[in-house]
Amino acid sequence: MTTILKPKPGMAVRGPRAEGPSAWMVVPALVFFLTFAVVPLLGVVFLSFTNWNGLGAITWAGLESWRTALTDSVTLNALVVTVKIMVYSLVVQVPISLLLGVFTAGNQRYRALLAVLYFVPLLLSSAAVAIAFKALLDPNFGMGPGLGIPALAQNWLGSEDLVLFVVIFVIAWQFVPFHTLIYQGGVRQIPASFYEAAQIDGAGRVQQFIHITLPQLKYTIITSSTLMVLGSLAYFDLIFILTAGGPGYATRLLPLHMYLTGFRANDMGAASALGVILVVIGLVLALALQRIGGKSRSSSQLEGA
């Protein structure tokens, strides 16, 4: 999250002749950023070299917490779970929200109505979503017996083979509307003249989608994927309430592992080391995704429109 808040360094070093607002205007944002992002982050880095159970005195521990955090098999497993959730979420959410976005971008009345309905899950808090799904997925009193469909009465949250997909489904259910909205906006920005020209050239709907819509949505896809990837580093509330990381360690992803280490096992040192790892991974991923987008991000795609 921190990367998003960071003000562009170029703003502060504008030459005296540069036009635009004064560089002083960055001060409020900078103060916020320093107070709420940089200072806590430095605190976390400091804590990662100490021993602290949250109550007593903070004692210097050197690299012990880092050794614990990096060699622990649970941490490794948490990393694998995080990557799985990240990749599966992308694979599931991008196509669905892209297609829904293109669909709802049309101007027909019924599509506008559907767009509003699709939007509803986003209005619910993650905690409410998790509690509702937990109740629905109960094998004895949930939707399976309720609807009289035995196939729905599975060991959804208790089987290691199923639980990851349940989690990915619930995440998708909650966040697809948001990404649909981004794609809808992206599609509406594409000038109609492109499609008119393509129609004259004899391109069908599918060809229009592949040769015009998709390339024009390149940056929208990057934006939405960045949010998905960085979001999966921050998925916490939903999974915490839905599975609490279980069964065993099957859905204990990195942010949850950090929380449980810090606030259940009360090992703030190791939890801080995990926090720092999380920040580093987030920064690297955000940078990598920016790179994929190319350097000329501001260049227009609308030439010739």
Binding site: F32, T35, N53, N140, F141, Q154, G158, A244, G248
Partner: protein
Amino acid sequence: MTMRTTKTLTATASALALALGLAACGSSGPADPAADSSSPTMWALTGSSEDIFRSSVERWNEENPDASINQEFFANDAYKTKVRTAIGAGEGPSFIYGWGGGVLKSYVDAGHVEELDDFLAENPEIKDRYIPSVFENGVIDGTTYALPNNNMQPVVLYYNKQVFEQIGAEPPETWDELMALVPKFNDAGIAPFALAGQSKWPNLMWLSYLVDRIGGPEVFQAILDGEEDAWSDPAVIEALTKIQDLVDAGGFVNGFSSIAADAGADSALLYTDRAAMMVHGGWVYQNLKNDAPEFVESGEVGFVPFPAVEGGAGDPANVVGNPANMWSLSSTASDEQKEVAFEYLKDGLFSEEYTQAMIDSGAVPAVNGIEDQLAASDDKDFVEFVYGLAQDAPSFQLSWDQALSPAQGDAMLANLDQIFIGKITPEQFAENMNATLGK
């Protein structure tokens, strides 16, 4: 230039003001308008004893308008995290609700709870009202830091009499009898045991009882003392093997690891005749009275001690569970708050109405001299059973997750979860847990 500096200053000042405002939001919670900030605060749990705590404080506040108490309730799992963070930040309540054990010890070590020895010496009648084995739970290294505030909660085996009649069975007294019942109930299409595996801690009741029955209380004491390889004790391995045997034999309801205890879905299986038995804490009886009164009133709910294990070294009269919950006093409370708090511990806690209300709710308060009241109770069978169980128990072991340090408790619950789903072997469990000894 002057103009510009002023603007900048204003902007900076307002940003700071905003930041301070936000920070201030974090520290003030909802407060009872009747009680002012000098009143002691009390955090307690929702659920079985909630009404008793609430009416006790309401009565207290009515009788002592100038010494009122400000009370708040929290859900179990959330409370455990919240109270620790609050205490660490010096924002904890005056009355700290706890379980004794490792968590209380960590508060004591950090100097966050008040010593009660002087107070108890001045008021000897307070100590005398408690059952000694339960009172001992609030004593750390010879000093008392907590006083029991509710009922004894031994873990027992609940069963549904109607489904037992249906297949003509008797509740199990030994582990072999228990295993023999499993296929019978499965053939009849009834789950032998309900279990809320998703909440993890209900799994622990099985492990702690089996280890105690097989190896006696010494096995867990060695773990508690951090002796090397204490988790590799043959009794632990045998207990874990027995658990996996029971899981493999279909002893637990299908999908048990998807069932959460906080919604009461496990007890619901018992009173809807879908499960025959359930091993659970004494508080379940109170919850059953609320959720399924007809099940309790018709006498369909049965209860027996956890079965003995043939050839086991442990006394079958030993009990596992929560001796009682406790009040500790925060050492960061103001003198005024402490004064009121001591008054309440003396006169409000376990007043006549308090004890009676607790018995009426189907619970057994951790106090002496209540035999007559228990005998007059509507829930005579259950309360006398629990009272006898606790009184006669040579050992009343506190729940392991509370007795151990939080770091070990967390690892234990996660590893035990993997035992129940067959992901790891008993030997792997022992190896993983030995690595946490002394943490």
